[in-house]
Subunit: 172 residues, 4 copies
Amino acid sequence: MKIAVIGYSGNVNETPVKQLEEICEELGHKIAIKKHILINGGTDGIMELVSRSARNAGGEVIGIVAGLESGNKHLSFEFKTGMDSSMRSVLMMYNVDAIISVGGKAGTGLELFSAYLMGIPIVLLRGTGGWTDRIAGVLIEGKYLDERKLVEIKNSWNVDDAIELAENSKRR
Amino acid sequence: MKIAVIGYSGNVNETPVKQLEEICEELGHKIAIKKHILINGGTDGIMELVSRSARNAGGEVIGIVAGLESGNKHLSFEFKTGMDSSMRSVLMMYNVDAIISVGGKAGTGLELFSAYLMGIPIVLLRGTGGWTDRIAGVLIEGKYLDERKLVEIKNSWNVDDAIELAENSKRR
Amino acid sequence: MKIAVIGYSGNVNETPVKQLEEICEELGHKIAIKKHILINGGTDGIMELVSRSARNAGGEVIGIVAGLESGNKHLSFEFKTGMDSSMRSVLMMYNVDAIISVGGKAGTGLELFSAYLMGIPIVLLRGTGGWTDRIAGVLIEGKYLDERKLVEIKNSWNVDDAIELAENSKRR
Amino acid sequence: MKIAVIGYSGNVNETPVKQLEEICEELGHKIAIKKHILINGGTDGIMELVSRSARNAGGEVIGIVAGLESGNKHLSFEFKTGMDSSMRSVLMMYNVDAIISVGGKAGTGLELFSAYLMGIPIVLLRGTGGWTDRIAGVLIEGKYLDERKLVEIKNSWNVDDAIELAENSKRR
């Protein structure tokens, strides 16, 4: 499966990314050893941490980067989009089977809506803050981003559950 | 100014669009007589109602449509993007000075995040339901989509205030 | 009709644009007085000259500009694409009924292929140099860019003929 | 290096692709054993033949496909763009170090212009027909697509020379 991990960008040595390092290590490692392809935006923050551990575990990591700059050094393949971050995020969704969300600022919020609109299953890794936790509080019936119920958004409270929910989800 | 009105798509004779007809009529009319250019996605729902009244008042209406199909008949110029709705919404934001949000499903949610990320002022026309009201409940300090405070999101409770807030806002 | 004029970019006071000023003046003027909408890339060179004369004649001019910068001052509406010039050119073709080509460097060459692939009729204003004349020498059966014969490319030797051929052409 | 091979689409068992099978086999094989990453549009024709032989030789093949459909079965990674063929071709160029061109219809023509405009070195595998040979006849000084001389277009007459020229070329 192609599993995207979305979440906070930013310096990996600073709050709030720093606090999520252990979770990201575990997430990247387990995605890799289960032979899933990790997809992400290819730059810093959560993306960097998860990419690094996935690569260290021998996994494949595809970075779909905004603009024409290079992504981080933990990518097995980097795809430059020449687009701004938001448009790149939409493009990324064409290439993903499921999403795991970890914390996240407004860019992550946009990605949650973008994935939902394309019917891509979303797993929230709860307790990681940002829009991952914030969106959980305003879902319709605790599961949907609107009345059309395009695809289910699921809650997980640890990495194993997050990956299992992603694996068992079905793209619409 | 180029003011985008975003909100519910769908049949104009059915819930929830039908209930917002009067508000949309007033909104389109007043945007037009104040000589603003109305920008929207160019299809049905809120977009159709606002476009119709803006045109009836002699205003200019630009529809930025997804795909290659024609938009509704109330557009003074239609721009076909060949893209899916989400990517089209991001593209629309490059061409907007402020946004007024009326109700809205997940596509509207994506547009709110997309506008915020580009620093485009957002005015919520409260009481219209959907993501326009839902997002108001989860803003940081009641105004922002994340800690970066990229641009302020404002609440209005009637059409006059919405337009005035849009006019007085400043793109970042 | 929406008629795009493509051709040389560059300073309007320098070769080779300068030499085509009169032709561009006539072209913009006649497109405008025949109530066609002029579409172009919205920056300098041929685009600027044609836009200026179309606007002076009361015509509507839509500039579909690369990046997020403003286009020239002769546009009645400017659409920012945030994309590089090549991708912008492809996007422009979704919004055009026919094309008139005047001189042109490689960007114009790309636009000729892009239009052909979408089945948009192309009129070469011969004698204006660049790819407008160069492509004429390598057409298949003097009319097509490949064996599929997707749409006809026509030769004109003056502005009146160019506009008439564009008007009588049929998008595939 | 990331080397793109562009050229005829179409059924691999029919003219003109069929006649180029041996050349494509050699090209894909040699790109793979020299550890270059093969990039292409991921569908049929030249793309399919070159992908197949590169994969058989253990190479990596990235297909950058138009639309949302799957590409051919010889891709090690497939990137769906959701875009039409022309826009996809422009996007592909952001991810390429050099191009080898084999035959080709108008889509290949567009790719030649697109690569040139981005300063990507182009090697024509002469004698393969289509725009690969046709463009050679109208180059400025036998090397350039316009007076700006953005990047050199080189002629090769066999696969070994084509790959060597691509390897020794320098992206602008």
